[in-house]
Each structure stands twice: as C-alpha cells, then as structure tokens.
C-alpha cells in the first residue's frame, strides 16, 4: 500500500543520520542521569508524590527522555518539511497530488517515529535500566498497549505540529508561532516535570490538554498507573485528540488550498 511505502522510505531516510542519533542518545542519557537524581531527592522527601513511588518516577524520567524524539516534541518530524515547502512554494505540488496531503506526511512521520523509537527510544531506556532501578511491565499486553499509545501520541503530536506548520501559509514570520509551540509542548507534555506532580486545579487541567497525550498517557500505561479500563480511556483520550486535531488540520488545509489557487502558489 502506498502509505506503508511512504512510511518505510521515511524510516530509511532518517536512519542515515547515525552520528546525530548517537550524539542525541548521549545527550538524552546525560540529562536522564541528572533528572533521575532530582527525582530521587523529591521522592525521598515525599515518597508518594503525585501517586508515584520513586521507581515510577525514575522510569518516567527515562521513558520521557526516550520518547522526546519519537514523539518529536518540538520538531524533527516530517512537519519540518511542510513548513519549508510552504515557504518555498513547493507545497503547491503536494496539494495537487492525487494523494491525501495529511496522509502522506502522517505516514512519513510514523515511519520516522518507528526509527526514533528503535534507536533513541530503546537506547536511553536500556542505559537508564543499567544505571537505575526501573519498573518494567510484567504483562506482554501492557507492552502492546504501550506501543499503541506511543503511536497515538505521535499522531497527536503530528496534529499539533502540522497546525503550527500550516500557519506558514498565513504568517510570514513563523518564529513566534514556533517558540510558543515549543514552550507549550515542553511544559505540558510533562517533559519538564511529570504532570502528576502538578497541584490541583492545574493537575486536572493539564491532564486534559492534548500534550498530555504525548508522554504522560503512554508512560502511565507502562507503569501500570493506568490498568484495566483506564488503559482504554487513556487510548480513547489520545484517539479523540488525534481526531480533533487532524480534522482541524484538514479544515485549515482546505483554506490554504484556496489561498494557493488564488495566489498561484
């Protein structure tokens, strides 16, 4: 099928960046170590902060580092290409192809995510497990649910990144948009600090935002914080945001399409 082919070629493309990948794994590991010690200090003071114990927290830390690139929290996904192509006008070619614009880039992004999961996802997790005592799921079903959740997280992330990228159709200077998006993503995805640590009422608010779908939901599944029906509600949460965001993207693209036609690309 076409989209599988797109995903595979995207996987291949990103696999050529070996040096960058290795350097990135090193950075992830260094920060993983630093953050681990800070979490150990927090949980020593409050052993059940946020409903986690210290092992949960350490696992969270390393999984979050592992997922930064997979979920492409800021950039590094195929949506970078989109913004560039809008700027140069090449996007006109993409819009007139007899293939879904969104489908094409989403398939590419999933292919890329697969590569990053295997490299910058697995490697820091292994390193973290060697250095610290981490929690691993005992049920194979949990692993499966985790992977599905990661996939959905990538789709939600794609949705937001695509919305930001398409703003290039209307905004000449994207730097503000990108900066805003980066700040929100970094903070509300739980990268800076686990979302469960937020005091109420922020906690509930933050867990309802789309960024919670990036990492907090998959990691909670892994940790067993979400089990049974909670797993399904988590996945449904991610799926719901995916649908909403993709619909918004599609709508925006239709507006953009009209703009491209009017301006001749």
């Amino acid at each position: 099928m076409l989209y599988v082919a797109v995903a595979l070629s995207s996987f291949r493309r990103y696999s050529t960046y070996t040096a960058a990948t290795l350097a990135g794994i090193f950075t992830n590991s260094v920060f993983g170590v630093i953050i681990s010690f800070s979490y150990i200090a927090v949980w020593k003071q409050n052993p059940s902060a946020g409903g986690y114990d210290v092992t949960d927290a350490l696992t969270y830390c390393w999984l979050a580092q592992a997922m930064i690139m997979t979920v492409a929290v800021w950039n590094g996904g195929t949506t970078d290409d989109v913004a560039e192509r809008i700027r140069t006008g090449d996007v006109a070619i993409d819009l007139y192809r007899p293939v879904s614009f969104l489908g094409w880039f989403l398939a590419g992004d999933l292919g890329r995510a697969a590569y990053h999961l295997l490299t910058r996802g697995v490697a820091p997790t292994v390193i973290g497990a060697l250095l610290f005592d981490l929690r691993f799921p005992d049920h194979p079903a949990t692993y499966l649910a985790f992977l599905v959740s990661v996939g959905l997280g990538v789709v939600v992330s794609f949705g937001i990144r695509m919305l930001v990228a398409t703003s290039a159709f209307w905004l000449l200077d994207q730097s503000g948009m990108l900066a805003l998006s980066a700040v929100f993503a970094m903070f509300f995805s739980g990268l800076a600090v686990p979302l469960v640590l937020f005091p109420e009422p922020f906690r509930s608010l933050v867990l309802a935002l789309p960024w919670a779908a990036y990492m907090q939901v998959p990691i909670d599944i892994w940790l067993g914080q979400r089990h049974g029906t909670a797993v399904l509600t988590g996945l449904a949460f991610q799926a719901a945001w995916s649908a909403v965001l993709l619909l918004c993207c599609a709508a925006l693209l239709r507006f953009a399409d009209r703009k491209v036609v009017v301006h001749g690309g």
Binding site: A23, I35, Q45, G176, A179, V193
Partner: protein
C-alpha cells in the same frame, strides 16, 4: 584568545563590539520577531524554575535546601550561563564555518578569528535566559536569610564573574574539538547545558563521586555551589576542604587557560591540514 600571528586583544574586542552591534541593529529592524524570540527564550529557559516550583508544591526542601536557597543556586547558574552563551555561544557554530568556507573568509581579515566567530550572528535574544536568571536570583536574595557583610557581597560579584568565565571556557573547549570532529557540538552541549542543569539543584542530591567530578574534573561546582556554601553559610555536606569556597577564580583561570590552548591548537591544526 587572540590569534598568535599578531592581533592584539584590544583590536579583537573592538572588532567584536562593532560586529555584534551590527547584528543587534539587524535584529532590531525585525523588531516584533526579536521581542517575541527574547520573550520565548525567557519562558523556555524559565520553565526549569517552574518545574522546581511544581516540585515544591509536593515537598518543602530538596537535598536539605529550601526553595529560597535553591532559587539562589538556580538564579546564579542561569545568569552565568546566560552571559556566557550571549558572549561566546556562537563559537559552537565553528564546525559549520569550517565546512562552508566562511572560516577562510574570516582568516583573511585583520581581526582574530575567535572574535569574528563569536560575534557572527550575535543573538541578543539570549538576554531572555539572563533576565529570568537575574529575576530568580534577586528574589532569592529577598527570601533567603543571608547575613550580608563585605566578604559576602564580594563573593556574590566573584561568583557571577568566575561562573561566567567557567562557562565561557567550557563553551570554547567544546568548540575547539570541532576542529577535529564536527559532530563534537552535541557532546559539548552535554557539558555546558548539562552542567547548568546539574547546578540548578543543590549538589547534595548527587553521590559524592559525582560532586568530586564536578569539582575536580568539569569544575561547574565552582559556578554557584561553592560560593553559595559561603554566602548561605552552609558547612560542606561532603566534608570537602573549606578553602574550595574561595577557589572559583582558580577554577575559572584553569578552564579558560585550557580553552585558550585548545583553541590555538585547533587553529594551528587547521592551518597545517587545511580542513
């Protein structure tokens, strides 16, 4: 850091100022973008402190230090890194200059290459980190219970000066490796930005070996930790000698000397291998 064959530091400083001023003027012509980027830089770097605040909604102290004292550590390291990044941050683009040939273009001008590399694309938006670091530091001075005397005030000034110098040295050391391998930049970041992140927290949260490494190997502990022990009047939790509190200038000199040597060696290597 002047090139050996003949520039004087005064000349280089003058050229740096002229070039940096030009870049500031250019970014000011795109005013809104510049202000947005500076604000963004402030918020992005400030998120680390918001994370600490969130942690403190769950605990009262970390590693034996209260929020005000941690704010002191955080503010100091952010300020020092911020100034260092502003002044020499662009040196990490060295690999790109070599690759694109702009390094050669710099070598045929009557100005030291180091000054040119640092001034190139001078990014005033980095004030964002400096601003939030200063704000947190000032706030910490109001809440932490410090027994001010002339020695402590002097230590505060020394802390900012030496801390900045240490980060500057680390930036340059990391960049000098790009003469040998262009992939070195991300590894170098782990030392500079990693060093900054580590020193946001009291070093009591790390094992003793790590603290010793941060004292004698990659001396970022001198940026804020040892001066803080003196200013906040804490006994050394690891039983390390008390004179370390006053050794930040030594650390700064050592790091910067190594950095200068590494840079010169790098330029020499470039001039004898042509790449």
């Amino acid at each position: 850091m002047a090139d050996r064959s003949g520039t004087r530091s005064g000349d280089d400083l003058r050229a740096f100022t002229i070039l940096a001023a030009m870049w500031i003027r250019v970014s000011w012509t795109y005013r809104t973008s510049f202000l947005v980027m500076t604000a963004a830089s402030l918020v992005i770097t400030g998120i680390d402190f918001v994370a600490i605040l969130v942690m403190f909604s769950n605990v009262d102290q970390l590693g034996g230090f209260g929020l005000g004292q941690i704010a002191f550590l955080y503010g100091a390291t952010a300020l020092c890194l911020g100034i260092g990044d502003l002044v020499v941050g662009n040196v990490e683009r060295l690999g790109r200059h070599v690759r694109l040939g702009t390094f050669d273009a710099m070598m045929v001008r009557p100005v030291g290459v180091f000054a040119q590399v640092c001034a190139n694309e001078f990014a005033l938006r980095r004030l964002g980190r400096i601003a939030q670091g200063t704000a947190v530091l000032l706030w910490s001075l109001t809440v932490a219970d410090i027994a001010w005397d002339p020695a402590r005030v002097a230590m505060l000034g020394s802390m900012v000066a030496c801390g900045t110098a240490i980060f500057v040295g680390l930036f340059v050391l990391g960049a000098a490796f790009q003469f040998v391998s262009s992939d070195a930049s991300e590894v170098a970041n782990a030392f500079t930005y990693g060093g900054n992140t580590m020193t946001q927290y009291p070093l009591t949260i790390y094992p003793t070996e790590v603290v010793k490494a941060l004292t004698f190997l990659v001396p970022v502990a001198f940026v804020n930790w040892y001066p803080a022990l003196f200013i906040l009047d804490f006994p050394d939790p690891f039983g390390l000698p008390g004179w370390l509190r006053f050794a930040a200038p030594v650390a700064a000199v050592v790091v910067c000397s190594l950095a200068a040597l590494a840079w010169r060696a790098g330029v020499r290597r470039y001039r004898s291998t042509g790449s």
